[in-house]
C-alpha cells in the first residue's frame, strides 16, 4: 500500500475521476448551482467550482470569484453528505394483501457505490456522529450501513475557513484526522497547481496507484500543512466547549430562551442543513383500493409540532422550548446519549438560518447572563 504522500498535478486531476468511473463509482462532489456550491453528481472535473469561493455570515451566503482557479477554494455549501447516506426520503417497505395474507417487500435496491469527492474534516466527523446513530448494533439501519460501507471518501483539507466556521473549537478540523480513503490538500500558487495525496485505505491506495503521481518532497508536504494551519487561524466563530453540558443543564429556565424563541422562525432550516441531525418521521400511504401500502421515512425536525405530538397535543408548544430542545440536544444531552458533542462546528445552521440566529452567540449570551447573575450574587 502506498502510504506516503504523493503529488497529483492539476493537469492529471481528471484521471482521478476517470479512475473512479472505471471502478464503478458514481462520484459526487461540489459544483456551482443556483448561486451556491452544492453537492451533486460529477460528470467531469469541469463540474467542479474552479475559481469560486463564498462569503458566509449569519443568514447570508454569497458566491465570490477567486483570483485563482482553485478547485476546492470554497469552504462548505448548504449541502452535506447526509443527503446521500441518510437521504431526505427513503422507502422502508411496501406491503400488500393477497388472498387474505399480508406480504411485506423489504426493498434492497442495488445502488452503485458512491464516491464523495471534497469531503471536509468537519463533514467526516459528522459522518462519524451519524454512524453512532445508524450503525448502533441495537438500532442499525441496514440501508445506511450498506451505503456507508460502499462509499469512498476522498477528503480535501480546508485551506480557507469562513466567517461561520468553528471546527477548531469542536476539535473536528480543519485537518482531516479520521479515516478516509484518500486525503488531499490543494496547493496553488502562480507557479504551480497540485494536490498532495495520501491513501488511507487499500482501495484508496489502489486508486492512487492507477493515477499519475510522484512522491511529494518534504517542502511540498510542509506547504500543504502550512495552508491547513492558515485555515485554522481563520475561524470566524469560536465556542467554549469545556463546560457546555453543565452550563446548559443549569440554564434550562434562563430568560434568554425567550429572547431567542422570539427571533426563531421555527422553520427547521438549521436541522435540515445540519450534517448530524438525524430525526425522521414515517409516512404511510395506501393505494386507492386499500390493498397495498407503503411506508416512507423522511427527515423531520424537532422544530415541527408533529415531532413531539402525543395523544392530543404537541409536547413542545412554544418556540423557546423547541429552540432549547435543539440546542441543548446538540451541545449537552447528546453527550449523555452518544458520549460526544452533536455539533461539528461547520456553521451551516448559522449561515442558513433565514434570520441569522447563531448558536455560538446564543451560548455566549447564556454564559454571560450566568456571569451577570453570579456578579449580582457576589454583591
Amino acid at each position: 500500500m502506498k502510504n506516503e504522500t504523493y503529488i497529483l498535478e492539476r493537469k492529471d486531476f481528471p484521471t482521478l475521476l476517470e479512475e473512479l468511473g472505471r471502478r464503478g463509482y458514481r462520484t459526487f462532489g461540489p459544483t456551482v448551482r443556483d448561486q451556491a456550491i452544492v453537492y451533486d453528481e460529477l460528470e467531469s472535473v469541469d463540474d467542479l467550482p474552479a475559481g469560486w469561493t463564498e462569503e458566509q455570515d449569519g443568514g447570508k451566503y454569497e458566491l465570490r470569484r477567486r483570483e485563482d482557479d482553485a478547485l476546492f477554494g470554497y469552504v462548505i455549501g448548504p449541502d452535506s453528505w447526509k443527503k446521500y447516506l441518510h437521504p431526505p426520503r427513503q422507502k422502508v417497505f411496501s406491503c400488500a394483501a393477497v388472498d387474505g395474507l399480508i406480504t411485506i417487500d423489504d426493498p434492497e435496491p442495488e445502488e452503485p457505490p458512491m464516491a464523495f469527492l471534497g469531503m471536509r474534516s468537519c463533514e467526516r466527523h459528522a459522518i462519524a456522529v451519524q454512524d453512532g446513530v445508524f450503525l448502533d448494533p441495537g438500532s442499525a439501519d441496514p440501508a445506511y450501513a450498506r451505503r456507508r460501507e460502499q462509499a469512498l471518501f476522498i477528503a480535501v483539507n480546508c485551506t480557507n475557513a469562513s466567517e461561520t466556521c468553528f471546527c477548531t473549537s469542536m476539535n473536528t478540523g480543519p485537518k482531516v484526522d479520521l479515516p478516509v480513503d484518500l486525503n488531499m490538500t490543494e496547493c496553488l500558487t502562480p507557479d504551480h497547481h497540485r494536490f498532495t495525496v495520501r491513501a488511507g485505505s487499500n482501495r484508496g491506495a489502489e486508486i492512487l496507484e492507477a493515477v499519475p503521481t510522484r512522491p511529494a518532497t518534504e517542502a511540498e508536504v510542509a506547504e500543504a500543512e502550512r495552508r491547513i494551519d492558515e485555515a485554522a487561524g481563520e475561524m470566524g466563530r469560536t465556542i467554549e466547549t469545556s463546560d457546555l453540558k453543565d452550563l446548559l443543564y443549569a440554564n434550562l429556565d434562563n430568560p434568554h430562551w425567550e429572547d431567542v424563541g422570539a427571533r426563531c422562525l421555527n422553520c427547521a432550516n438549521c436541522t435540515m442543513v445540519c450534517p448530524t441531525c438525524f430525526c425522521t418521521t414515517m409516512e404511510d400511504v395506501t393505494d386507492i383500493t386499500g390493498k397495498s401500502a407503503e411506508r416512507t421515512r423522511r427527515w423531520d425536525s424537532c422544530f415541527t409540532w408533529d415531532f413531539s405530538y402525543m395523544h392530543g397535543g404537541s409536547v413542545r408548544q412554544s418556540s423557546k422550548s423547541r429552540y432549547r430542545q435543539w440546542m441543548t440536544h446538540k451541545l449537552a444531552t447528546w453527550q449523555d446519549q452518544f458520549d460526544r458533542l452533536g455539533c461539528i462546528g461547520c456553521g451551516r445552521c448559522i449561515t442558513w438560518c433565514p434570520v441569522g440566529i447563531d448558536l455560538t452567540k446564543e451560548v455566549e449570551a447564556i454564559r454571560n447572563s450566568e456571569t451577570v447573575e453570579e456578579a449580582h450574587a457576589d454583591n
Binding site: 452544492v38 431526505p88 422570539a262 427547521a268 404511510d284 393505494d287 386507492i288 415541527t304 442558513w352 434570520v355
Partner: protein, 256 residues
C-alpha cells in the same frame, strides 16, 4: 354499489381551480370513482344524486347571504366536511374586500348595483360551520387531495404536514433563495404542501398555502426590512391569497 361512500363537491366564491385539481388527477380520478360514488359534482357531471353525502369537499368562501345559508344546508347533509383551498380555508384573494368599503366598490364596478346582494366580507367556511379537515393551497395540491380522500376511505392519517415550506425546499435540494440570493421569501412562515415550487424556480414563496403551524411573522418581516423590502411590499406579500388568515392579516395590518 350502494355501499360505496357518497362524495359531493360544492362550490362557493372561488375560481374553480381546486375542483379542477381533482379533475386534473386524471389517472387517479377514475380509480377514485371506483371506490366512491361521485354523487354531486356539477363541474364533472350533470347527474346529481340527492344527499346525504358521506364526504363533502367544499371550495370557495362565503361572500353572499345566500351562500351563508347554503353552507348550513351543505353541512347538514354531509358526514365529513373537508374544505379545499385558500378561499374555503381563509377567505381567498377576494377577502381583499374585507379591507375596503364594499358598497363603494360595487357602485363603481356594476352598472346596476341594486341587483347586487353581497356581504361586507369574504370569510372562510370554518367561520360559518364546523369543518372536519382543512386542505390548504391556492390551488390545493392534487396529490394531497387524493391522499386526504384515501386516508378517509382507509381510516388512516392523511399525510398533510403543517410545518414550513423550508422542509420541502431542503428535501427537494433547493438552495435557499433568501439566504443565497437575498430574495424575500414567505417560505419560513408558510404551510407546506406545494413541494416548494417557487423557490425551485428561484422565486420567493408567495404563501399560497397560508400560515404554517407556528408562524413567526415579526421575525420574518423584520429580516425582510434588512433586505430592503419596503413596508408597502411587506403588506402586499402578507395580503394575498391567504391575506385574511389571522397570522398574515395581523402582520399586514402593522404595515398599513
Amino acid at each position: 354499489m350502494a355501499d360505496k361512500p357518497k362524495l359531493a363537491v360544492w362550490k362557493f366564491a372561488s375560481c374553480d381551480g381546486c375542483q379542477l385539481s381533482l379533475l386534473d388527477c386524471e389517472d387517479e380520478i377514475l380509480a377514485v370513482a371506483g371506490e366512491v360514488e361521485i354523487a354531486n359534482f356539477p363541474e364533472a357531471s350533470r347527474a346529481v344524486i340527492d344527499g346525504p353525502y358521506d364526504v363533502s369537499l367544499v371550495e370557495g368562501s362565503i361572500t353572499t347571504p345566500h351562500d351563508a345559508e347554503r353552507i348550513q344546508e351543505v353541512r347538514a347533509q354531509s358526514g365529513l366536511l373537508i374544505t379545499i383551498g385558500a378561499c374555503a380555508t381563509a377567505g381567498g384573494i377576494q377577502a381583499l374586500r374585507n379591507y375596503q368599503d364594499v358598497k363603494e366598490m360595487f357602485n363603481v364596478v356594476y352598472a346596476s348595483p341594486h341587483y347586487i346582494e353581497t356581504l361586507e366580507t369574504s370569510s372562510a367556511i370554518a367561520d360559518h360551520v364546523k369543518v372536519d379537515f382543512e386542505l390548504r393551497g391556492c390551488p390545493v395540491n392534487k396529490m394531497q387531495l387524493v391522499d386526504v380522500l384515501l386516508a378517509h376511505l382507509h381510516g388512516r392519517k392523511p399525510n398533510v404536514s403543517a410545518h414550513s415550506v423550508c422542509l420541502e425546499c431542503k428535501e427537494r435540494g433547493n438552495v435557499c433563495v433568501m439566504t443565497a440570493h437575498g430574495t424575500p421569501c414567505m417560505g419560513p412562515v408558510t404551510h407546506a404542501g406545494c413541494g416548494a415550487i417557487c423557490p425551485a424556480y428561484h422565486r420567493g414563496c408567495y404563501g399560497c398555502f397560508g400560515p404554517m403551524e407556528s408562524p413567526n411573522m415579526p421575525a420574518l418581516t423584520s429580516w425582510w426590512k434588512g433586505l430592503g423590502v419596503a413596508d408597502a411590499d411587506i403588506r402586499r406579500a402578507c395580503r394575498s391569497f391567504n391575506g385574511y388568515a389571522p397570522a398574515f392579516r395581523e402582520e399586514s395590518e402593522k404595515y398599513d
